[in-house]
Amino acid sequence: MYIVLILKYFLSSLLILETKGAKSMEENILEIRNITKHFAGVKALDNVSFSVKRGEVHALMGENGAGKSTLIKVLTGIYKADSGEIYFDEKKCMFPNALSAQHAGISTIYQELNMIPYLTVSENIFLGRYPMQRAGIDWKSMNEMAQKLVDDIGVKIDVRKPLNTYGTAKQQIISILRAISLKSKLIVMDEPTSSLDSNEVDILFGIIDKLKKDKVAIVFITHRLDEVYRMCDCITVLKDGQYEGTYDIKELSQYELLNKMIGKKILSMDNNRVKRDFSTDECVLEVSHVTRVPYVRDVSFKLHRGEIVGFAGLLGSGRTELARIIFGCDIPNSGQIQMGGKLIHLSSPKDAVAQGMAFCTENRREEGLFPDISVQNNIAICTLSQLCTAGFINLKKRKRLSNEYIEKLGIKTPSGEQLIKNLSGGNQQKVILARWLATNPKLIIFDEPTRGIDVGAKAEIEKLVCEFSDRGISVIFISSEMSELVRNCDRIIVLRDGMIVGELKGAEISEKNIMWMIANKKSIDSLM
């Protein structure tokens, strides 16, 4: 008797659970449960779960390497998850490839457009599903349908023209139209605004509003906080491949969001540089009103002799782009750069090197190393002219130079003849440092100098950077790790969306203040 009662109770509770589950499923177009994905032993995604409701704009936030793209690729069938489940539209599904995800109703709009530039707009919209009639493709009705889609959102596009007659913004919109015409229930947008100007962003957001009314769910990936707060209903934050949480947009301030994305990354290091005010020292570099659309807008700052200035900001804030302009890799649309009080014109990096600049790039492998060349030649490559006697390279001088720096910077290598690709990341970075130090520079730009190297080497490189400053070399230090900036910089310039939003000096320098500035665009005075 009792047993029957218990069973009955148990069954009914199960039923309740079932209906509850079904209800939440009905609301949620997408549920991702406990997804884990490894790449060569590294956990790119660690037990990530989140869900998206119908007709919701859901922001997916996180710094570089947080796992956003991996998650999207798992969702759309490009990668296969190691474990975990995906429920889409009330069905459990693991898409074997991108096409089947598209058939099920998930469209993805990538940062780099995946369309065919030489085909017409309407062909691109209906690619792979051209309307047919007896004599082949029904061009007329295809163009009419495409034109209707375009007119519906009120953009001026002639669908008969080839796609590449339109700029990136319009192409972006066209790829969204394709998603709409596919009757997608969920559209994933991976940084759709990164190459748009503000008018174009408005148009895009108009379209998103419309989609929202049609109960289409949108997963929105961006690094621009403004857009998140303007458009999105809730935010899911990923950090280092882990799920941080999902928050209602109204309950999470920009500051808290930043804290969740990049906070708590503090390493215990004993290096505490005594910060000094350099504003009365000799001015080495003066950048005035430099603009390069759309990455850098009207940036002006000064750099003094021996000063370490940090560039803080999120990814896409224009940090690296600004450094590339200063070093002559990219040419600005307008603005001036002065060095030592003289106006300089940089048409390529060699001009910058001639001016006494050095640049440790963000991507060591792609832009710094000569992998199949020995350590000593990697060190000597910028100073070959000084090593020449009568036109020939003096091999003894080269060896002396490389040994000097191998010893000075503590580069761990069996010999100078070793190929640099056989060294560890930290030692490779030191070799690049040695290369630039040998040129006796006045200014060194470090872009993420400690990325991908272990803690010990990190501390050594930070120490070296401070030593350069003591020797009178000015340093521009770019890092995503706020704690690193706070430890090493005399002054921090905070960038957001390509503009300088503030500057921190001396005692004002703290992770909290940097985050406040990025979040609020306010000057430090109004903060305190």
Binding site: F327, C329, S348, P349, K350, A352, V353, A354, F359, T361, E366, E367, G368, L369, F370, P371, D372, I373, N377, A380, I381, C382, L384, S385, C388, G391, F392, I393, L395, P414, Q418, L419, N422, R435
Partner: protein, 316 residues
Amino acid sequence: MSSITKNFRFEITIFRKYVSVLALLALIIFNCLFTQNFVSWVTFSNLFIQASKVVLLGLGMTLIIATGGIDISVGSAMGLSATISAIFLVNGEPAGILLSLIVVAAFGVLCGTLVSKFSILPLIATLALRYILRGLAQGLSGRGTVTYNSPALTQFFITPIAGHFPIHFFILVIAVIIMYLVVNRMKFGFQVEAYGNNPIAAKIAGINTTKIIILCYAVSAIFAWVSGMLEMIMVSSADPSTVGLDMEIDAIAAAVIGGTPITGGYPNIIGTVCGALLLQLITMMCNMNNVPYSTALMIKAGIIVFALFFHGFRKK
């Protein structure tokens, strides 16, 4: 343990660097043992005279391949330089030989500019030049083969020096020494290797990459001129449609066998020289043993595949 593997790897790299030298030595020893009449001055001078053009073209090709490029116009450049020089010699103006050098070098500079400044793929840029130069040569000659009469010049070239050494031998030795020093001991060579390794990093390291590329193509054109001259002098005439025809293919093969990575990297001068000599030696060996030419071609193909296997065809 790891140091052992590292040393082992280090030795393998050295072995790879000189694999063509070893292959050449092996083939020479093989011939000394099994080919009748192989050990003689005639064989020696024939080898150098016949291989000289490919060696010279190969030196320039090595530089270009080291930058990650390729130059399929050198055969046509040979044809043009021979034709221009022969026309001037017919008219009794030997100074015109210098003019042909200037013209061909200018086309090399043009080619380098197209590749570096206008980012045209080397294969396409040199393909265009291959047609242009051949067309120019044929147009200038107008009536086919240009034959001149200058016995003194021919006599000077076919007279062996010190009784046994053909003049080609000395030209080759000088060219190889110069190129070896340029590559291994001069700024230019170091920068070429760096560019071939990583063009973006080379640019950021402040290397004038445009200049480097233009120079490489110009040097290659100059070597094409030298081998064009050699070919013209040997026969006292220049046929604009056959001088240097398909010669670039042999030069590329020599560089590849020599171990210069086709994706860019260290220009292995000694390797290229040995590669070119190896190819020529195979032809001679087959001739001397009455093996048909078609078989020689297949042996050459085998050597190229073998070389690529040893050098490891790495994807970048």
